[in-house]
């Protein structure tokens, strides 16, 4: 099971745990059979909502139960007053929020939240965003929550600049927040559709990412982002990207002087030089030879890389 450490216990302790486990199973099975009984009758009612809720409190992964709740809400749409349905959906959001805080990585729970939120006449998107802030503070890499955040932004029409600011904040808190780097890479091309603007922005980003790579040169998050900057700027038509890359070469050379055995600046320097098409291939060879000795796991990758000039 994910992240469950195996612990040695005394026989007595093991017996105690077993008794507890058996009791838990008994209780859970009772809750489930009550639900199944009610569901089999085929009545879509408030009792169904109450009974299914207890199952989900035990086990939010039981996807059929979420389906059943949606069946009930759909049925209510045709049988109850609109206000009453809205009230129940609002309650549902509260219930999901409780579930999400206990089980932050359940696909089913997150999907159900999306499903309910778009059925609310007035979904409080600001509140939804707050929930995301809170959960992403607790687990900065929760991709379910990042996805939900993007959904909320889209629905609420949040300006991209605001989200961009959020990624800056998260990265400054922790350079290893790859999820935030990813988000940044997806925002920039949308925010700067014009080539000239994009070029200027990317130049700014090179400056900005430098702070990260100099502080945490062993952290691959910022280097992967750097590689993306290189790949993106060179595709901008009619721009002088080579000057930008040349100044990056200087900067990274400076970093290598301080961190001679760190693989990432060496690798980045190598790819920059390849990109710039350096004439003297021994410059490339020297770098790749170094990588082959300090990053043994990926030696075959480097061997395939050097074939490009050998």
């Amino acid at each position: 099971m994910h992240g469950v450490l195996k612990v040695k216990t005394t026989e007595e302790k093991a017996r105690e745990l077993k008794v507890k486990e058996l009791l838990k199973i008994k209780e859970y099975k009772e809750v489930v059979s009550k639900f199944q009984e009610h569901k089999s009758v085929g009545v879509l009612d408030q009792i169904g909502l109450d009974i299914s809720k207890t199952v989900l409190e035990w086990n939010p992964e039981y996807y059929t139960v979420w389906n059943y709740r949606r069946d009930i809400f759909n049925h209510f749409d045709n049988t109850l007053e609109k206000e009453k349905v809205q009230e129940l959906l609002t309650k549902e959001m509260k219930f999901i929020e409780e579930c999400i805080q206990r089980f932050t990585k359940s696909y089913w729970v997150w999907f159900h939240r999306k499903w309910v939120s778009v059925r609310l006449e007035k979904c409080d998107w600001a509140r939804e965003l707050k929930l995301c802030y809170k959960l992403l503070d607790l687990d900065l890499r929760n991709f379910h929550c990042w996805s939900y955040r993007r959904f909320v932004e889209e629905r609420s029409g949040m300006p991209m600049e605001k989200e961009f600011g959020y990624t800056t904040e998260k990265i400054e808190q922790n350079f290893s927040n790859y999820s935030a780097w990813h988000q940044r890479s997806s925002l920039i091309p949308q925010m700067y559709p014009q080539p000239e603007q994009l070029f200027e922005k990317l130049k700014e980003e090179f400056e900005w990412v430098r702070n990260a790579v100099f502080t945490e040169p062993k952290d691959q998050s910022c280097w992967i982002y750097h590689k993306w900057l290189v790949g993106t700027i060179k595709k901008i038509p009619n721009c002088n990207y080579k000057d930008v890359l040349l100044s990056e070469v200087d900067e990274i050379n400076g970093l290598i002087e301080i961190e001679p055995d760190c693989k990432w600046p060496i690798y980045t320097l190598l790819t920059l030089k390849m990109e710039l098409g350096v004439q003297d291939k021994s410059e490339l060879q020297e770098l790749v030879d170094k990588l082959k000795t300090i990053d043994r796991e990926r030696i075959n990758y480097y061997l395939s890389l050097e074939k490009q000039w050998q």
Binding site: M1, H2, G3, V4, L5, K6, K18, E21, L22, K24, I25, Y28, K29, V32, Q36, W58, N59, E61, Y62, Y63, T64, N67, R70, Y107, F111, W115, R141, F143, W146, S147, R150, S176, Y178, S179, H182, Q183, S185, S186, D219, Q220, S221, I224, Y225, W228, T232, R296, E297, R298, I299, N300, Y301, S304
Partner: protein, 338 residues
Amino acid sequence: MSDNSNSNNNNSIDHTKNVLVEKHISYVVNLDNKKEEDFEYWVTEHLRMNGMYWGLTSLYILKALDKMDRDVIINWVLSCQKSNGGFSGNVSHDEHLLSTLSAVQILMQLDALDRLDQDLVAKYVLSLQQEDGSFFGDKWGEVDTRFTYCAVSCLSLMGKLDLLDNNRIEKIADFINRCKNFDAGYGCIPGAESHAGQTFTCVGALAIINRLDLIDRDQLGWWLCERQLPNGGLNGRPEKTSDVCYSWWVVSALSVIDRLHWIDNEKLRNYILKCQDNETGGIADKPGNVPDVFHTFFGLCGFSLMSYFDMEEIDPTYALGTKTLLKYNIKLPWNKKL
């Protein structure tokens, strides 16, 4: 079906160097006997179809498929089919693409695909395709590249991929391409962060629809080989810890794009060995953790894909035995040994 006859109580074998074949077989065969005392068994009831597939395919890799009661399993799988053709994760649960693919895989593994109304299954799968080329996981409308993989794999295994015309295939390819990110990896939906698991589903789906040309193999291969950590294990995203399940997600994707040699296979093998449970058998996510059938399957897949320990060969795209697939005349152009 317990296997106490051989001396499994002997823990003298060094599990960091040897694969515990007999113990793993006994672990998988006895999974169902734990139900009286294991709470986890009950809260994972909805996953039983996937669990059955993981267990069976583990036994296939270990060359011990005959340890399971074929007829019982086939009948149970068929009892999970709904009138619309989809399969549920267990009897009295709802149908979903995730369990539908597992059901088809199990029946194939047991050479019982003929017991199935395949047209009905195909109809169910096709009913979930959307205008933009994505697939719903079930009628409720969650979209994810996992479901794209399930859909095309399911159709292809039944020899029904041609039910998707060129236009539809183009849309599927386009949707997957929109899930590609700045690092050449793939996410759940457009805009979502790259993840090795999703990357497998996208690479696998593109392989099945014959559109591997959409992948920049060197770029993706590099991102995938950077998943290997100094301990030899693989992570699923940058700056995360290692986990045995990526011995499938990462290694299969690397195999399909012919870059498996870009990671240190021996170091990964040693990492998986360390995750074996020397008492009960089975493989855990990390060394010293409690094993489960999911990680047992993915650990064994790692050995198989890297050709260690004379295991039965598993196909990196369909996640089924190569021999099984060839028997059904499925084409495997990414397999260089064929």
